[in-house]
Each structure stands twice: as structure tokens, then as C-alpha cells.
């Protein structure tokens, strides 16, 4: 058992997500930085789908009532066990009676804590991920609160590896600027050519209006191609007949402040979308925070698939390195 002594500003139980329910209006949820989430699990010998804690901007303080193995990845945070700093991206033993504290994020936005066995809570439609908008997943459908008691599961896939660490080359390092690859499409035809060029050549700034649903960006406004609005679309030129929103899609209501949707997004709505951030780069967006700068680079589907393969290869390398380690 782990008791939540202080929850941090917004800490939720997340796993690899709850796919397959788009058609009933339920987004996939799950850890926003899937790479950091998977690395944390690999470090403690969990399956990659085991649930971790996702801490936002600052982490929780947890009292361990049993021995365990822990690892923290993602945003650059100070991690201490009974006040002694321990390395991120590495597995550490913790004993019953000890306290683990995750401090303020110095860079990046979201840190992941994996505990050997995984954080346990009831599965909801096959996932433990918290989706606060529908109050499902996690312990109660919401973020952790002080006094919560977390149980450990048995989602292990390999031996415990206290002392295991991920090579610094394979760790993510959040900076204060990020470039995101975008596949243009969806309703890109609604935007003027000049606007699309402006979008892909300008620098945007992350605003504080960012959560698991999506993030708003500040920057040059965009204009729409003039048309007589089709039946059912609504009067504003940024309106379209309501349609599905991919996770990672970018919409620009009324031409100002682009919004990029994340894994807790609504599954559809009536704003024109101009393209979609590729899956490999959603992890980078998960770590962006105000006032980081964001640039968008248009890529083809071929490039997007190549980037996905590279991202998979990186995770495979982490897995191989950790497995080799356990042989010695």
C-alpha cells in the first residue's frame, strides 16, 4: 500500500489508454507522454501497459507502507526518498516506512512514477486511465487527493532491476522550444494558402490554458477561404458540419489561438481542423509548457510512418539495454 500524503497539483493514474470507444464519444486517454510512461514501467520490470502516476508540473509526496521498486521519468523533476535525491530514469528500491517526493518540474510538464507491479485500481473498459470528464478510471474518476491509498498490482513482465538506468542518450530532455511534425489534411482546404504558409513558418507560444484535453497556442491568426456556409455547418467561417477530431488534431476557432487536442479530447465538434501532430511527437507536446515556443513542420504520411518506426526502435533499444543489464 502507498498512501498519498500530498497529491501534487494534478496527479492521475494513467496507462497506455482505453482504445476503441471513439464511436461512443470516449477518447483514448492514457499517459500523455507514452514514451516516458513505457520507460518508467520497463525500469521496474512492469509490462508497458501497467498503470503509472502522471504528475503535472509538480509531483506528489507518497508514503510507502511496503517495500517496492520505483522509477520516475518524463519532466525534469527532483525526486527524493526520505529527503535524499535519487536519479531520474533509474530504478530505486524503497522500503516500507520511507517517503518518496517528486518536486517541481524544472523543465517539461509531466513526470511519470512507475512502481513495480503497477498501480492497481479497477479496470474500466479495459483500462485504468483516469478520464476526469466522464469521472471514470483511476480510484474515483478524478485526480489523486490526500489520504488516497494506492494498491500495487501484479503487472510484471520481467525481473526486478533495482539499479537499472536508462542511457542518457535514450532519455528525453524537455527544452523550452519544440518542433512538431504535422500531417496536413482533415479540413486544411478551409484555410487560405497564405494562412497555411503562415502557420507552418511562424513560432507559436504555449499558453497556460493547457490540460489533458488540449493546449492553446498564441501566435499569428489564420484566415479561412470564403464560402457560403454549407447546410448544418454554422455561421462562423471556422465552423464545419460536426466531425470527428483525431488526437493531435489542430483546430483554430475563429482563426485565433490554435488548439491542439490531446488524449482526453472531445471526440468531435464543429471547428475546422488543419492537420494532425504525428503520434511520435505527441510525447514532445505533452512536455511543452507556457511559455515554451512551438513550431509546426508539415510532413507526409510516409514521413509520419518513418518517424513512428524510429520512435518504436528507440523504445526497443531501451528494452534491449535493460534486458542485457539484467543478465549481469
Amino acid at each position: 500500500m502507498i498512501s498519498v500524503l500530498a497529491p501534487g497539483p494534478h496527479t492521475t493514474i494513467q496507462d497506455s489508454g482505453r482504445p476503441g470507444y471513439y464511436a461512443m464519444g470516449l477518447p483514448p486517454s492514457g499517459a500523455l507522454d507514452q514514451y516516458a510512461h513505457a520507460c518508467a514501467n520497463l525500469l521496474v520490470g512492469n509490462t508497458e501497459a501497467a498503470a503509472t502516476l502522471e504528475a503535472t508540473m509538480a509531483g506528489p509526496t507518497l508514503g510507502f507502507e511496503q517495500d517496492a521498486i520505483v522509477a520516475v521519468t518524463g519532466a525534469d523533476v527532483e525526486v527524493t526518498i526520505d529527503g535524499h535525491p535519487v536519479e531520474m530514469w533509474a530504478a530505486h528500491p524503497i522500503r516500507a516506512g520511507q517517503q518518496l517526493k517528486i518536486g517541481l518540474a524544472r523543465a517539461g510538464a509531466r513526470a511519470y512514477l512507475a512502481v513495480r507491479g503497477g498501480i492497481d485500481c479497477p479496470l474500466f473498459l479495459g483500462s485504468r486511465s483516469t478520464y476526469t470528464a466522464a469521472s471514470i478510471g483511476g480510484l474515483t474518476g478524478g485526480p489523486l487527493v490526500a489520504g488516497d491509498a494506492l494498491r500495487l498490482g501484479c503487472e510484471t513482465a520481467g525481473p526486478a532491476r533495482p539499479g537499472a538506468r536508462i542511457d542518457s542518450r535514450l532519455r528525453s530532455h524537455a527544452g523550452d522550444s519544440v518542433s512538431l511534425r504535422v500531417v496536413p489534411g482533415l479540413c486544411t482546404y478551409r484555410f487560405t494558402a497564405e494562412s497555411l504558409e503562415r502557420f507552418f513558418t511562424s513560432t507559436y507560444t504555449m499558453t497556460a490554458r493547457a490540460d489533458r484535453i488540449g493546449c492553446r497556442l498564441d501566435g499569428p491568426s489564420l484566415t479561412y477561404v470564403e464560402r457560403e456556409q454549407p447546410f448544418g455547418a454554422g455561421d462562423d467561417p471556422s465552423n464545419v458540419v460536426d466531425l470527428g477530431y483525431p488526437v493531435g488534431s489542430i483546430q483554430v476557432p475563429s482563426g485565433t489561438e490554435p488548439i491542439c487536442l490531446l488524449r482526453d479530447a472531445v471526440t468531435g465538434g464543429g471547428y475546422a481542423t488543419l492537420g494532425t501532430v504525428i503520434s511520435a511527437d505527441l510525447d514532445l507536446l505533452a512536455q511543452a509548457r507556457a511559455p515554451d515556443t512551438v513550431r509546426f513542420e508539415p510532413v507526409s504520411i510516409d514521413d509520419a510512418l518513418a518517424a513512428r518506426a524510429a520512435s518504436r526502435a528507440r523504445l526497443r533499444e531501451v528494452r534491449t539495454n535493460l534486458n542485457l543489464l539484467s543478465l549481469f
Partner: protein
């Protein structure tokens, strides 16, 4: 990708044989827009194609999400190459069998207390973000659609069933489109700025669509009434939700039926005791029969519930 290609706009799209516009949503999604405008014809084709994609049982297809005049597919690119999936989909669009001739579905009876006291209360607290400072949402919607009274609007809204065309926003919510010719579609703008509160089970109209809000929360559609029956039970603990956590999946026909306060309260009591059985009947919806005689066809659909 070259910016000149973006400027040309061509490279983002694959035009399908039937004029639909297909594109990729990153590496995990395929988005196909059949029409920029809403129409019964477009929505039935969407539903027919989505059902056929589902029937193919392609490995790696995670979601098939039909919307009003478009659909979205989520894929696992580790199992299926999205470029290949698009080729498969293209063949379906070329195939004459995916016409909008009809759909096999179910019609549900939805008892509604129109012009209910809870919507009225929320309405009056939300006039700041609304088009009209003095009218309630239902009065406003009646007036701008040329009805002489709220009663006339209620009669029109319950005269013909709606078809669910896009379950979205949150589980249980479903945009539905009335089975009447376009010139008889009720239309209403959404709130200028969204309300911060909406009663759970509120029946509301925005654009050309009616929704039943599954739970309380924000919203922007004009409040017309309140459904006596719930539309979602994610835990699936009650009798109407054993098969599915949502009452109104894609293609469901909804027949709204005005009830008085007494009947509304009776239904609520039965729902709370998990003893209420929703009236439903199977339907073979035929577009040509509907187009030949919309009023008579709507009456015959209503008749299935009596």
C-alpha cells in the same frame, strides 16, 4: 513535405471515386468527408460505408467513428499500413452497394417534458451568453423558426423521429437529425458563449441537430426540455444498458414524445427503481419511402411504437 505542396493543397487529399475527400490524421487516423453539407443522403451513406468497413474485420482497425457527413477511422499502424487501409476504403466508395438506400436500425420512444422548470431556471441564469435577453431558449427557437407558439415548435419537434448521426462530445451524447425535408428542419444557433451549466438529460437543439445531454455540465445548444429517461450508464448496472453503455448509438431513431409533469414524474420513479422499460421497435429505414411521403412515413414509424 514541401511548402509549395501545402500551398497547392492537393497533396493532403486523396479524392475518392464518389467525390469524397480522404486524408490522414497523423499516422493513426484516416478521415473521409463525403460532403461539406449535412443531408440525410450523406449521413446514410456514411453509416452504410462505416458498417461495411466494420464488416471487413480489417486487422489493426481500432475505431470506426461515423459522423454527420464524414467518418474517422483510427488504426494501429503497427498492424496495418494506413496507406493500404485507404486503398481498401477507396474500393468501398467506388462500389454501388454503398448507396444511401436505407439502414436497419431501431426506433426508441423518448418521453420529454418540454419547456420544463429546470431548463427554465438554467436559461434565466444564462442570458448573458445568449442571443435573446428576454426569451427562454424554447421561446427563442420557436420564434426564429417562424412558429407562432412554443406549442407549435413542440408539435414539429415531436412530429417525426430523429436519426442519430454523430455520437460525440461525451459518452451517451448523440447528435440527431430530424427525418423531415430540409425546408422543415428546425435550426437554431448555439449560445454566443457556452453555458456553464446544463441539466442532465436536457433535450436541446443546435444547428440542425438535437441532443440529449447525458450528464450536467457545460453546453451551448438551446434548451427545449428534459428527457425522463437517461442515455448513458457507463457502469452498465441498469436494465436498458446491459448491451451497451449508451442508449443511442449511431443510426438509432428517436421519437420524442411530449409528456406532462405527472407522466414525467412517473417515468422518473420507474427509472430510479430500474423498472422502466424503454419502448423500442426494429426498423428497416428506407430513404426512398421517406422521400416519397415524408409525413406519412414519419407517421408509420411512430406507429411502430404504439
Amino acid at each position: 513535405m514541401d511548402l509549395t505542396a501545402i500551398r497547392g493543397g492537393s497533396s493532403a487529399y486523396t479524392m475518392l471515386p464518389d467525390g469524397s475527400r480522404a486524408s490522414f490524421g497523423g499516422d493513426e487516423y484516416v478521415f473521409v468527408e463525403l460532403d461539406e453539407a449535412m443531408s440525410l443522403h450523406a449521413t446514410l451513406r456514411v453509416q452504410s460505408i462505416a458498417a461495411r468497413i466494420g464488416a471487413l474485420g480489417l486487422p489493426g482497425v481500432v475505431d470506426i467513428a461515423p459522423a454527420n457527413s464524414s467518418y474517422l477511422i483510427r488504426l494501429d499502424p503497427d498492424q496495418v499500413d494506413p496507406r493500404r487501409a485507404l486503398t481498401t476504403i477507396t474500393a468501398l466508395h467506388a462500389d454501388g452497394r454503398t448507396t444511401a438506400s436505407g439502414i436497419r436500425t431501431e426506433i426508441l420512444d423518448v418521453p420529454v417534458l418540454y419547456d420544463d422548470p429546470w431548463s427554465l431556471e438554467v436559461c434565466m441564469r444564462s442570458r448573458d451568453g445568449h442571443q435573446s435577453a428576454t426569451e427562454t431558449d424554447i421561446q427563442f427557437t420557436a420564434r426564429i423558426n417562424g412558429f407562432a407558439s412554443v406549442d407549435e415548435l413542440v408539435a414539429a419537434h415531436s412530429s417525426a423521429p430523429f436519426i442519430v448521426t454523430f455520437p460525440c462530445f461525451k459518452p451517451g451524447n448523440a447528435e440527431s437529425y430530424q427525418l423531415v425535408p430540409r425546408e422543415r428542419q428546425i435550426q437554431a444557433p448555439k449560445y454566443l458563449t457556452p453555458r456553464t451549466e446544463t441539466p442532465a438529460r436536457a433535450v436541446a437543439h443546435g444547428g440542425a441537430f438535437t441532443v440529449i445531454y447525458p450528464s450536467s455540465g457545460v453546453g451551448g445548444y438551446q434548451l427545449l426540455g428534459r428527457s425522463a429517461i437517461p442515455v448513458v450508464d457507463l457502469g452498465q448496472t441498469t436494465r436498458e444498458f446491459r448491451r451497451s453503455p449508451v442508449l443511442t448509438p449511431i443510426s438509432t431513431l428517436l421519437q420524442f414524445r411530449p409528456v406532462d409533469r405527472e407522466e414525467y414524474d412517473d417515468v422518473r420513479r420507474l427509472v430510479d427503481a430500474d423498472q422502466y422499460v424503454v419502448r423500442r421497435a426494429p426498423v428497416e429505414f428506407s430513404l426512398s419511402d421517406f422521400e416519397a411521403d415524408p409525413v406519412g412515413y414519419a407517421r408509420s414509424l411512430r406507429g411502430l411504437l404504439s
